[in-house]
C-alpha cells in the first residue's frame, strides 16, 4: 500500500515541478517577483518531493523490486 503511495508521489513530481516553474515565470512576467530571486524554490520543491517519496518507500529495498506490477 505504502509502495503505491510512493509511486504516486514519484509520478506527481514532474507535474508539480512544472506548475512551480510556471507560477514563478508568471510572477516574473507580471512584475511581482523576478525569477532571479525565486529560482531556489524549484530546488526546494524537488528536495521536498524526494523527501516525501523516501519516507513513503518501504524499509526493505528488496520488497519493492517485484511490487509495482501487483
Amino acid at each position: 500500500m505504502n509502495n503505491r503511495r510512493a509511486l504516486f508521489v514519484q509520478a506527481v513530481r514532474g507535474p508539480i515541478l512544472l506548475v512551480t516553474v510556471g507560477v514563478l515565470f508568471a510572477m516574473h512576467q507580471a512584475g511581482v517577483l523576478p525569477f532571479s530571486r525565486t529560482w531556489p524554490l524549484i530546488i526546494i520543491v524537488i528536495g521536498l518531493l524526494k523527501l516525501i517519496e523516501r519516507m513513503l518507500m518501504p524499509q526493505i529495498p528488496a520488497a519493492s523490486a517485484g511490487g509495482p506490477t501487483g
Binding site: R13, P15, T20, G22, H28
Partner: protein, 486 residues
C-alpha cells in the same frame, strides 16, 4: 497494459493552434504581446492537467506511470521557456543585450571607411512632398525660406577591405529624384550586401512648406520647421520633431526617444519604444503602443488618448503634464472627463476637472481635484489605498467602501461611517454636488480637506494680484487654518 498517453499534449497543441488562428483571422490580435505575457500559464495548465490525470488514475487503482513527464516532455518545457523568454526580451526595447551593445558587437566586422557625399541642390516648388525611403543613418531635415532643396552629408561604409568599401561607396550614390511635386531622396543603400553596410548621414534643408514621408531602418530623424504633414516610420532609432504645422504620424518598431515639440496638427504615435516626450501640441494626441520608458505629455490643447498593455487613458486637454513611468501615472492640471483603466500602476492626479472614471487593478490612488465645482467621480481599485483631498468649499455626495481596510474622514459629522465586516463604508453629503464613488477591495481610504492653495489661485482674479498681496493672503489663510484647528 500500457497506460494511455496524457491528454495534455493534444490540448496544448489545440491551444497553440487556436492562438495562431486568431492571429490569421484577426490581424490586429497582438499575438506576440499575448505570448510574451502569458506563456507561463501554458506550463501551469499542462502541470495541472497531468496532476488531475494522475490523481484520477490513483483513485481508480489503475497502474501509475513511473514519472509524470517523460524526458521528451521536459525538453518541450525547456523549449517553451526559451521561446517565451525570447519573445518577452525581444519585445522590450531596453533589454540586456541591447544595453550591453551586443548588436553593435555583431556589426563590428571590419573597419569604418568614411566618404563624403557630393552636395546636391535643386529648385523645387514651395510645398514639395519629400520622400525618403528605407533609409539607414541619421537625417536632419529643416525647413528654410525659399524654393530650394539642399543636401549635404557623409557616408560610413563598414568593410573588411578598403577595396570592398570603395565598391560599396560607388554603388550607393545619393540622388535627388524630382517627379512633379514629389522629391525622392534616394540613398541606394539596399544595393550593397550585408557584408558592407552603408550608413548615410544627411543634412537636408527644404522649403518650409514641405511635407515629409520617411521610412528608416536605423538611425535618428531630426525634423524642424515644416508646415506640411510628417509621416515617419522607423525600425530602430530616435525621433526629434520641432515646429511642425501639419499632422505628425510616427511608427516605431523600437526607439529610444520620440520627442515632438510645438506641433500644430495632430500627433499619432504607435509601435514600440522607450521614452516619449510631447510638448505644446495643438492637435489631438493618440499614443497606441508599448513604450517602456517615461512617457510625458505637456500642454496638449486637444483630447489625448493613450493605450498600451497596462493602461488606457482618455483626457480632454492637458494644461499641465501627464507622466507615465514604470508602474506610476502622474497627472497635473488636466481637463476631463478623465478616464483611466490601468493595472499594476500607482495613479496620482493633481488638479483635474470635469469628472473622473478610474479603475486600477493593483495600485494606490491619490486624487487632488484642487478646484470647485467638482465633477462626478467613479474610482475603483482592486488592491490599493485611495486618498482623496477635496477643497473645503466643495459640495459633494460621497460613497466610499472598502472590503478590507479602514476609512479616515476629515469632514466629520456630515459623513456617516460604519464598519462592514473587515471593511468599512462612509456615506453622506457635504453641501450639494456631484456623486463621488470610491471603492477598494483591499486597502484604506482617506478623505481629507486639501490645504487651500490650489482652488482660489486658479481664478483669473488671483493671477492679477501682486506677489505681495498673494503672500499676505496666504499668511492670512494660514492663521485662519490654524485657528480653525483649535
Amino acid at each position: 497494459m500500457r497506460p494511455r498517453a496524457s491528454v495534455a499534449g493534444p490540448l496544448i497543441l489545440i491551444a497553440i493552434g487556436v492562438l495562431f488562428l486568431l492571429h490569421t483571422v484577426l490581424p490586429n490580435f497582438p499575438i506576440v504581446d499575448v505570448v510574451a505575457q502569458y506563456w507561463p500559464y501554458l506550463l501551469i495548465c499542462w502541470g495541472i492537467i497531468l496532476l488531475i490525470e494522475i490523481s484520477v488514475r490513483a483513485i481508480r487503482g489503475r497502474p501509475l506511470p513511473t514519472s509524470g513527464i517523460s524526458g521528451g516532455g521536459w525538453a518541450v518545457v525547456v523549449l517553451i521557456c526559451f521561446a517565451g523568454l525570447a519573445t518577452y526580451e525581444v519585445r522590450r526595447s531596453d533589454n540586456w543585450w541591447r544595453r550591453v551593445g551586443f548588436e553593435h558587437g555583431m556589426e563590428a566586422l571590419g573597419d569604418e571607411h568614411d566618404y563624403a557625399v557630393n552636395s546636391l541642390q535643386k529648385t523645387i516648388g514651395k510645398t514639395p512632398h519629400i520622400v525618403i525611403d528605407a533609409f539607414r543613418g541619421d537625417a536632419k531635415i529643416s525647413g528654410i525660406d525659399g524654393t530650394e532643396i539642399t543636401l549635404n552629408g557623409h557616408k560610413v561604409v563598414r568593410a573588411l577591405q578598403a577595396r570592398e568599401a570603395d565598391f560599396a561607396n560607388q554603388q550607393t550614390p545619393v540622388e535627388l529624384v524630382v517627379e512633379g511635386n514629389t522629391v525622392t531622396v534616394r540613398c541606394n543603400q539596399a544595393k550593397t550586401g550585408v557584408r558592407t553596410p552603408v550608413t548615410t548621414d544627411l543634412e537636408i534643408s527644404v522649403p518650409r512648406g514641405a511635407s515629409l514621408e520617411a521610412t528608416g531602418t536605423e538611425g535618428d530623424f531630426d525634423v524642424s520647421s515644416l508646415s506640411g504633414n510628417v509621416d515617419i516610420s522607423s525600425d530602430n532609432g530616435g525621433m526629434r520633431l520641432e515646429d511642425v504645422d501639419g499632422n505628425v504620424k510616427i511608427d516605431t518598431r523600437r526607439s529610444d526617444l520620440v520627442r515632438c515639440t510645438n506641433v500644430k496638427g495632430t500627433v499619432d504615435l504607435r509601435g514600440h519604444g522607450s521614452d516619449i516626450e510631447l510638448e505644446k501640441i495643438s492637435g489631438q494626441v493618440t499614443i497606441n503602443g508599448d513604450y517602456t520608458g517615461t512617457v510625458s505629455l505637456r500642454e496638449v490643447a486637444k483630447p489625448v488618448r493613450v493605450e498600451n498593455m497596462r493602461t488606457q487613458m482618455d483626457v480632454e486637454q492637458v494644461a499641465g503634464e501627464i507622466r507615465f513611468d514604470r508602474g506610476s501615472l502622474n497627472a497635473q492640471n488636466v481637463m476631463g472627463p478623465v478616464k483611466v483603466t490601468t493595472h499594476a500602476t500607482d495613479v496620482s492626479l493633481d488638479g483635474f476637472s470635469g469628472g473622473l472614471e478610474l479603475s486600477v487593478d493593483k495600485g494606490d490612488v491619490d486624487l487632488r481635484p484642487g478646484q470647485v465645482p467638482l465633477g462626478k467621480m467613479m474610482v475603483h481599485t482592486r488592491s490599493g489605498n485611495i486618498e482623496l483631498a477635496l477643497p473645503e468649499s466643495a459640495g459633494f455626495a460621497l460613497t466610499a467602501t472598502t472590503d478590507h481596510g479602514d476609512i479616515e474622514n476629515e469632514f466629520g459629522e456630515m459623513l456617516k461611517q460604519r464598519a462592514q465586516g473587515p471593511g468599512a463604508r462612509l456615506e453622506g453629503a457635504v453641501g450639494t454636488g456631484p456623486e463621488l464613488n470610491l471603492t477598494t477591495d483591499r486597502g484604506s481610504i482617506t478623505v481629507r480637506k486639501s490645504s487651500d492653495e490650489g482652488a482660489p489661485a486658479k481664478q483669473p482674479a488671483a493671477q492679477m494680484r501682486t506677489q505681495q498681496a498673494a503672500v499676505a493672503l496666504n499668511a492670512e489663510r494660514g492663521i485662519e487654518a490654524t485657528s480653525s484647528f483649535r
